[in-house]
Amino acid sequence: MKRRRAEGVESRRGPALIHRLPAGAAAYVFEEAARRRRAEDRIVQGLRAAGYREAIVPSADYLAPYLTHLSAREERELYRFVDRHGDTLALRADFTIALARHLAPRLAPGSSLERVFYRGEVLRGGSRDGAGAEFYQIGAELLGDPSAAADVEVVERCLEALEAAGARGAHVVLSAVGALEEMLAPDASGEPARRLADAIRERRLSDTDRIAREVSAGFGQRVRRLLEGDLPPGDPLLDRLGAGRESLVRAAGALSGRRGCRVALDVAEPPPRSYYTGFFFSVYGESGGEPVAGGGRYDDLYGAFGGPRPAVGFALGLEGVVGGSA
């Protein structure tokens, strides 16, 4: 009987699948699991103490409401399936859109500030080497406040959460959607401005110099500062920004004295997700190639789900902080 059962397992699923993990998946047991939970508990404790309330959203949801908020690449990363009614669902790849979808209808119009946090697994596929297919995300959102002070609060909460999880050292890159184009606008417009912005974002040194020289003789030096991406808060290029300047400068000021934290104003940094509309940031740890946390402002998202209000938030991947699949 035992022999037949073993043969059955082998023939139906293959012996290797008993031990094999899907690309990017991870299992944690014993002390490793306990270590993760302790880090999570410390983060959650800090968020609760700061007045953030928990929200729980489904781990799978209808795909359609999400599609307009995803880039082509983000859409390709989704794990999707068809349920027994024939509807296409996707596994949770990000909390922010899910939270907006489920929270917006429950918020009274014009209601006051809301501070919300969430935690749970997210799944993203599509990477050739399987990196980070499943990871545990913890994040928080501040709803109803369009101010630079709200942006600064969220960055500070993010760094506190990283510290609570045991992260040593944070390299924070501050940026804003459209800031690069705004800084180029007085000198370049149309097709040259678009090509220049692309070259700066890809940090293509010679292309950037060449296109800048085509625009004007003295433009190259200013543009090189944008490409190298470490503008001092007093840099006159920042004066070209509209409302976005205040968030960048205030956040840089607030973080500059923080122990173990280094800040760069880099308008060539790409936003972590495509739904960001203004200020955003990425946090890199002392090792690894991907940000351990990121966040920013997505003021259009709640409106798309019937509860318009400004929103800013952050999320961190626990694996990036306490170790595990990178």
Binding site: D129, A131, V172, V173, R203, E228, A264, S287, G288
Partner: protein, 210 residues
Amino acid sequence: MSAPLTVAFPKGRIAAPLARLLAGKPLEIPPFSGRGLVVDVSGKRLRFLVLKDFDVPTYVRRGAAELGIAGSDVLAETECDLPRPLEFPFGRCRFSLLAPASLENPFPEGRAVRVATKYVRLTRDYFDRRGMAADIVPLAGSVEIAPQMKLADLVTDLVDTGETMRANGLVEVEKIRDVSPHLIVSRAALARRRREVFGLLEILEGMIAS
């Protein structure tokens, strides 16, 4: 003192001209000898990881190397979206669709064309753009012999001088894209070691220009 900057170095077709460039002033990196795949260059605070070409983006993206050198073919195939500050003036070639010289019509009628390649994604994208069905046969190398051995109708591969292509009875049907080597840099390295990274980039930019 901080750790050396780590550069992922491809050991494929651009290794030789790249080594010649790096041997020039002011870097003067001596040729990598022996079988060691991690090479520390004393006095330069540089470490080179000698890797398969297709592994370079993974090392840089996952933060095991701050910088790396890879062809635009590899970067496109691996969907690598890391910044690529420098393009090298050697190792340029093209990624092309190749067919047996004896074949009158490279695209068979009545069935999907069978294509052997190391570049599954680029090949699939090419046939998608053409609106044609293709049965792609993934291979790790020596793709040029696939039509002779009846493994595939066509091949997509890099063409430099065309010598290997002709030696295997193939002709170029269409150039799909130009290919050139690029230096890529991790965004994490920019955040952590911006000055050092741009310092090295400026040196390399000067070496390329001279």
